[in-house]
């Protein structure tokens, strides 16, 4: 299952390292990363595959949220299908 991890917060050292390490520990594979600074805010989008992760989805979301709180970052994980739905016209072949 494909999901999107989004990380938003004040730019500081080690954000990518911390988030990717947390994902690695949950056996989540990172397939693509893009990052940018928007209005002073560090914004990172990761496309990930959670197929090999033993945790349930809400447990993954909770772990990332805890990591976010510790580092004053907003970290969300959502299934890719919501972004497909809202931003692409043709989503007929894609399922959750």
């Amino acid at each position: 299952m494909k999901a999107i991890v989004s990380v938003i917060g004040k730019d500081k050292k080690g954000i990518i390292a911390k988030v990717s390490n947390a994902l690695y520990e949950m056996s989540i594979n990172i397939e693509d990363i893009s990052q940018t600074i928007m209005q002073d805010y560090f914004t990172m989008i990761m496309a990930v595959d959670i197929a090999e992760c033993p945790l349930k989805f809400d447990a993954i979301a909770k772990q990332l949220s805890i990591l976010g709180n510790e580092n004053r970052l907003e970290i969300h994980i959502q299934l890719q299908s919501i972004f497909d739905s809202m931003h692409k016209i043709d989503t007929g072949k894609k399922e959750i």
Partner: protein, 449 residues
């Protein structure tokens, strides 16, 4: 891969602009529960609904967590109870069964304590209607609706007259809770069979055994998009359309996924913009963003007509099956902007009535003085129903004559139902007109002017 802007847009819509799925409503047909025994009918209803809906709340919460979108309510709608109980006359027992089911499944509302009497009432249906006050005053989550007119049958004025009395009785029986029972009762013209929204949800006779209908929301998202639109009204309409498209896509996704997991058919997505009392989730504020000093000002009906039409145009492309009420809701007590406009005197009942001619769904969640007579309430109902019948659209009335309170006071309902300033209304009597009874014939559907 998506651009950062797209991802951030989606996240902001959810976290700051109150984009949510208002409800997943699981429609369950009860035709296979009809028996001539009260007890057996109740047992069959209990078994059928529990077997279909026991995981509804959990599945709704799972989908919400995976997509990161709040799903505010999980609801059940059923075949109109008057059809199911006619053989056993067991409606009073069914009330208790439904109340138990609502508690055990943990759903927010259960709708369908309903009757369809748009042409005439059978003697049993009259008995059923008279039980509505008891059903709504002794339960918390049961909702009731009565269809009193259609464009093809005309208006059943006997039922309109009776509903005025029933609304008063509901108000009296819940006099210690600001007449809350009236908030769970809707009187319809042209009621739809696949409505996911309360209090008017029921599952029509033409529907599948179990059906998922989803209602989306998101007035805040539309308002935020309009804040950045400085063009003319063609551009405003375009902006609303594009935003409605995105909102509806979320509804479509949730409906598809929920129907798969509940093993039910995918019914419809209802495109309605449904406000909540939370600041930033108001339909009135959209109209004000377009350029009105306050909702209720001259120009309100035109703005609302455009909003309603643009929401449908955007939503219909986004979704394979659109239905329900699909438009902009204007429930006064559930919309911070409508509450304010009423308090400052910018919005009155007559303007609201005009607004309902161009949007869904009707005079909704309007508190009126507690001493309003049953005849006057029937008059309000008759006017609103006539708008629906002549314009071939759904209209509805959900007014609350708040027991013991007068114009200028406030009624508090709590939660999604909000609070309502009590409106001043015209006191002249329609008693002779209402007392005549009978049926207003169906209108001509050609030579429209």
């Amino acid at each position: 891969m998506y651009s950062s802007n797209e991802i951030i847009e989606t996240i902001n819509m959810i976290s700051q602009q109150h984009l949510d799925v208002r409800t997943i409503t699981l429609g369950i047909s009860l035709f296979d529960c009809i028996t001539d025994s009260k007890q057996r009918t109740c047992d069959k209803i209990y078994d059928k609904i529990m077997s279909k809906a026991k995981n509804l709340v959990k599945i709704g919460n799972d989908i919400s967590s995976e997509l990161g979108v709040p799903i505010v309510n999980k609801r059940i709608s059923i075949t109109p109870v008057s059809l199911i109980s006619a053989a056993s006359k067991g409606h009073l027992e069914i009330i208790r069964t439904l109340d138990k089911i609502a508690d055990e499944t943990g759903v927010d509302f259960l709708g369908g304590y309903s009757a369809l009497v748009h042409k005439a009432m059978t003697p049993y249906e009259k008995e059923f209607l008279l039980s509505i006050p008891e059903a709504l005053s002794t339960t918390n989550k049961i909702c009731s609706s009565v269809n009193v007119a259609t464009s093809k049958a005309g208006i059943n004025m006997d039922a309109v007259a009776l509903m005025g009395k029933i609304v008063k009785e509901c108000a009296y029986l819940t006099r210690d809770k600001d007449s809350l029972a009236c908030a769970k009762l809707v009187v319809f013209a042209n009621a739809v069979e696949d409505n996911p929204f309360m209090a008017g949800a029921f599952l029509g006779a033409g529907e599948d055994d179990t059906v998922v209908n989803v209602g989306v929301s998101g007035p805040g998202v539309v308002k935020t998009a309009l804040e950045k639109c400085h063009g003319d009204l063609t551009e405003v309409a375009e902006c609303i359309k594009q935003t409605a498209f995105k909102i509806t896509r979320v509804g479509q996704l949730v409906a598809k996924e929920a129907s798969k997991r509940l093993d039910a058919s995918f019914g419809i997505v209802d495109l309605s913009l449904a406000p909540t009392p939370v600041i930033g989730d108001s339909v009135a504020h959209i109209l004000e963003e377009i350029g009105l000093e306050s909702v209720g000002a001259y120009g309100t009906t035109a703005c609302l007509a455009m909003l309603n039409d643009a929401v449908k145009k955007g939503g219909i492309m986004a979704c394979s099956n659109v239905g329900g009420l699909s438009g902009a809701f204007i429930p006064v007590s559930e919309d911070a902007g409508m509450i304010k406009a009423t308090e400052i005197g910018a919005l009155n009942l007559e303007k609201l009535e005009a607004m309902t001619a161009v949007c869904s769904v009707g005079l909704d969640m309007i508190a009126i003085p507690g001493d309003t007579t049953a005849d006057v309430i029937s008059g309000i109902i008759a006017d609103e129903i006539a708008i629906g019948v002549v314009n071939t659209k759904t209209t509805a009335v959900r007014v609350i004559p708040v027991y013991g309170k007068k114009a200028g006071d406030t009624a508090e309902f709590g939660g999604l139902l909000g609070r309502a300033p009590i409106m001043n209304i015209n006191k002249y009597s329609p008693a002779k007109f209402i007392g005549r009874g009978g049926r207003i014939p169906a209108p001509l559907h050609s030579n429209k002017n």
